[in-house]
Symmetry: D2
Subunit: 338 residues, 4 copies
Amino acid sequence: MINVGVLGATGAVGQRFVQLLAEHPWFNLTTLTASERSAGKLYRDVVKWRLDVPFPEQAGDIRVSPTGVSSLKDVDLVFSALPAEIAGGIETACAEAGLGVCSNASSHRMDPDVPLVVTELNPDHLGLIDVQRDRGRDGFIVTNPNCSTIVMTLALAPIRDFRFTDIRVATMQAVSGAGFEGVPAMGIFDNIVPYIGQEEEKMETETLKIMGTLDGSTVRPPSFRVSASCHRVPVLDGHTMAIWADIADPVDKVREAFLNYTPSVPALPTLPEKSVQFFSEPDRPQPRLDRMRGRGMTVSVGRLRKGIRFIAMGHNTIRGAAGASVLNAELISTKNYL
Amino acid sequence: MINVGVLGATGAVGQRFVQLLAEHPWFNLTTLTASERSAGKLYRDVVKWRLDVPFPEQAGDIRVSPTGVSSLKDVDLVFSALPAEIAGGIETACAEAGLGVCSNASSHRMDPDVPLVVTELNPDHLGLIDVQRDRGRDGFIVTNPNCSTIVMTLALAPIRDFRFTDIRVATMQAVSGAGFEGVPAMGIFDNIVPYIGQEEEKMETETLKIMGTLDGSTVRPPSFRVSASCHRVPVLDGHTMAIWADIADPVDKVREAFLNYTPSVPALPTLPEKSVQFFSEPDRPQPRLDRMRGRGMTVSVGRLRKGIRFIAMGHNTIRGAAGASVLNAELISTKNYL
Amino acid sequence: MINVGVLGATGAVGQRFVQLLAEHPWFNLTTLTASERSAGKLYRDVVKWRLDVPFPEQAGDIRVSPTGVSSLKDVDLVFSALPAEIAGGIETACAEAGLGVCSNASSHRMDPDVPLVVTELNPDHLGLIDVQRDRGRDGFIVTNPNCSTIVMTLALAPIRDFRFTDIRVATMQAVSGAGFEGVPAMGIFDNIVPYIGQEEEKMETETLKIMGTLDGSTVRPPSFRVSASCHRVPVLDGHTMAIWADIADPVDKVREAFLNYTPSVPALPTLPEKSVQFFSEPDRPQPRLDRMRGRGMTVSVGRLRKGIRFIAMGHNTIRGAAGASVLNAELISTKNYL
Amino acid sequence: MINVGVLGATGAVGQRFVQLLAEHPWFNLTTLTASERSAGKLYRDVVKWRLDVPFPEQAGDIRVSPTGVSSLKDVDLVFSALPAEIAGGIETACAEAGLGVCSNASSHRMDPDVPLVVTELNPDHLGLIDVQRDRGRDGFIVTNPNCSTIVMTLALAPIRDFRFTDIRVATMQAVSGAGFEGVPAMGIFDNIVPYIGQEEEKMETETLKIMGTLDGSTVRPPSFRVSASCHRVPVLDGHTMAIWADIADPVDKVREAFLNYTPSVPALPTLPEKSVQFFSEPDRPQPRLDRMRGRGMTVSVGRLRKGIRFIAMGHNTIRGAAGASVLNAELISTKNYL
């Protein structure tokens, strides 16, 4: 068992981390950090638990530490659910102090020597950890992409060998993506907000890093481009997206690729039976019905039409955030980085 | 004053027609038809009024007639809010009997000699009425497009002189588009349904007819293509759509075109002050805040980005259905067709 | 293992029955009935599965039978999810043919010799089965109450020994209570409908039967009265209700009764750890957060204030329908009625 | 024309005040105040307009002042949309400085010499202004009740002559009641929150003051009691409530009272044609369909049943806040207080 902690354990993504780690077979959750105000109190007394799954009572007994490297003496690996504004420095300090950091924050995603990893898609990018070590760092930072980028790239994984030069994606994103307090009801009830700050930029740049080729110490981007239009919709969980990939091959061949997809990763506790589930029904996937497939870790794909057009949907706070990070950590644990 | 009637006056679109015609300055609403079951009763006693504007009491006093040409002796012009399954034959019979028919049904939209008109966009297509007359028809049929097609084409009107070869559009469509009973709450609450029957086909074919060139007795389609992905979202009224138009010109020139747009149509009672309103705010248009601009007749456009990408939004049962039909009828009234 | 069937297996409640019975430790689900149109086909091919839990694949292999007693030769016990309009006759025929019938339909609920049972509350009412048998019936019918009645009466169970003369209840009921197609989105989005047909009457009469005293062959009603006001709200699952019970005792004593409640029933597979969960938090229970407690079988209670006023909430299609019926069947199985 | 101002003009209630006053026939809106941060800028540049009615352009040209008595030199009457935390002192200072203050804040509502007025219900309570003046105050403070209290008391106005000893009310309150940012979407989507801080206390105490009798310089409360249970529901605007009033008279007599109600107030610009509208339809009133009756100033009542039970519904930010205050100010203007 590897002792692990969560930085920023009381927020929306932090709670998901706690839920996924509370009974994890490989990881022993010992440390939870939050703001100074909460430090010293029991987790159960400071967290306002808002997931619709029962509160993990054993995590409730953990005494919360202040967010910082000095709170992490007993752990080997730490998950970061910190907001981007403060994540950068703290994560660097942790890595310098010898810790493995699996971060959901955007701060280090585009750093040249920080792997930006979707477990099924580019596990080899973990090789960048060696680059970090070569320049004297004891620990390391590994990041996972933005929630909508994860859903899209995983949906593209089965068809990445078809050549495409242009990806266009229109997202319909759930309110949980902005955190518990992020979207006021008055702003989104009976409404759509056709703007999410920095989201389009993240989809357009992160995708190229993830789907690039690790070449020595750098990632060479692929030759295609991504053009995103991102929209908030009145849905609680699950990001849905319409994707155009200009593949010349016939629809049948593309369908086959979706149906036959098996990622080249070892068995991992959080890896779902199917990373990508293909639907033949004309009206699927739907976020409310399909977001919990594979315990929230499966990306659902459907409505494949010539174009090539299709729909992808995945749970944004599980597969698109905490679950993606935990899956990366599991993969790292099978290698010799800790 | 021209005496007018509404075919199918009790449904969602029918009620919108009644609302728009009840106090119309040029049209005198005398006839409302519905199913046999309702015939003979007062409109107020058979309609289950579900608009959030007050019931037009004067229309309530009209005695409902059975749907058919024999009920329309006193009118010169009839609006059709009939479902496509029955609209075709009845509308033809009306036109043969000498009536002008302005139809929101899809039955005749793609008939070669039936104009498919968005008033601001292709008023000249009304010339096809002469083609109908040349083959011996006393009356005529004029149609308006599908609701999402209207919003998109009107949003494209200001920039149609830029050359584009490919239009891609991802829609987020309101539940009212399916009629009052069309979408069960259990199907769309906290959900998205990425499929609307025949909607993508309509957007892809109707757009080419509307934006085509009338050449003698036929409409020559433009050279661009349309690829649509249509989705139902939990919004009551207002279709929002993300549009990509592959225009090479810089964003500033395109913005200018949106800002300077004035359609070449005479002043008409239902014509809004602005047919297309351009927003500079980063998070607009939004359906709940903007759908009632221009009393529901304005299409709002915003988030113009390089690509060219932008957002369009319009009220689907007013601008996208009944209002579009009434506006067409007003234009027809200024010519010599009645 | 007891062979069981479900009458009306494709609707909202029918699907819940199938979900709960597919892997039941005591019941072997062998028979599913539906309309003539579906008969002869595999369940997976006729059901439009709309629960947000995975489809039970083993049930999918069952070939659907037409709804009627002749389809039930191999079962000893049948669950009825039929609509009230047709349930009455079919259920009687089944009981006459020797089958045990556990029905969620309202048809026989108020029949004098049919037990109307909430397992934890009035298990002794099953004694009415003997009354049915005494008049020559081979099988029997046992019913569970209306969904909102179940939630309220179970919430009253811990405090039934306090004397109250008047119960007032205002419900806020989920749309799933009307079936998948029962409530159009246009009717309930951003809205409340302050009327549910026959719901108030059911709460007012069924409560008195359940909470009455079995006295020989009849149930003697209690002396209190119930006054209900029932309202549909835009919530998917979970009926919430504000209850006033005119108890003179202090709030502390009532709280204690809620906290100490343990029903007098044997351990049953579907019985939750807590039938009634009491919340001290000021803003609980909430349907989205609490409806799945006890796998949907726990009724949550909170906001206890002088008056005595409190809030009760329970999952309407699990605890309030299929789950209640299955729990009753489990209790019956522990006795000698099958 | 009377020059008026609005304290706290950028918030939810402040925007409603601006909307109602921008084209008022008696009041000339000259002054808008907000926080220091906004002071000195044009209203159009600091307000994030979120109403679904067009922004009043003439108000947009007003230069915002800091909130305080020194900003109000040019006005005779000021409307307060301040939060309760800061309203108390500022309103007192304004009144001492000779201004008339019509406040929607709760700070002074229960002060013995401050009238708490629903225009149609207790206009005579304005007599308390004289009590304020007798103790040397140049100006005055008049308050309107909490939003849900206004809807309930106005619904009780037509039947106040029937004797009741107990009122029980269960509310289903819209999210706009908590301000634009008050309720996160994650907290209320597909959910009910059975708690609104201080709301029940306000309904229980304010009602007794409004419906009390002015006796010299004090208000004598009526003999009945109010017991409230308040709940937040996923509705944008419009508070709905189920009310029990223990009236012994038959339902028909009560219905007649509702139908015949005419308040004893002079014609005022904001007074709707019907202050209380009675519905005979079994499923009305409904917030989405009925909240804008009387331009948001009508309270709708229906589902009258023995008990006496009935449903009341009114627009919470118009009739329940800004509109109530403006109506009070209009009544005051017809008297000699300014």
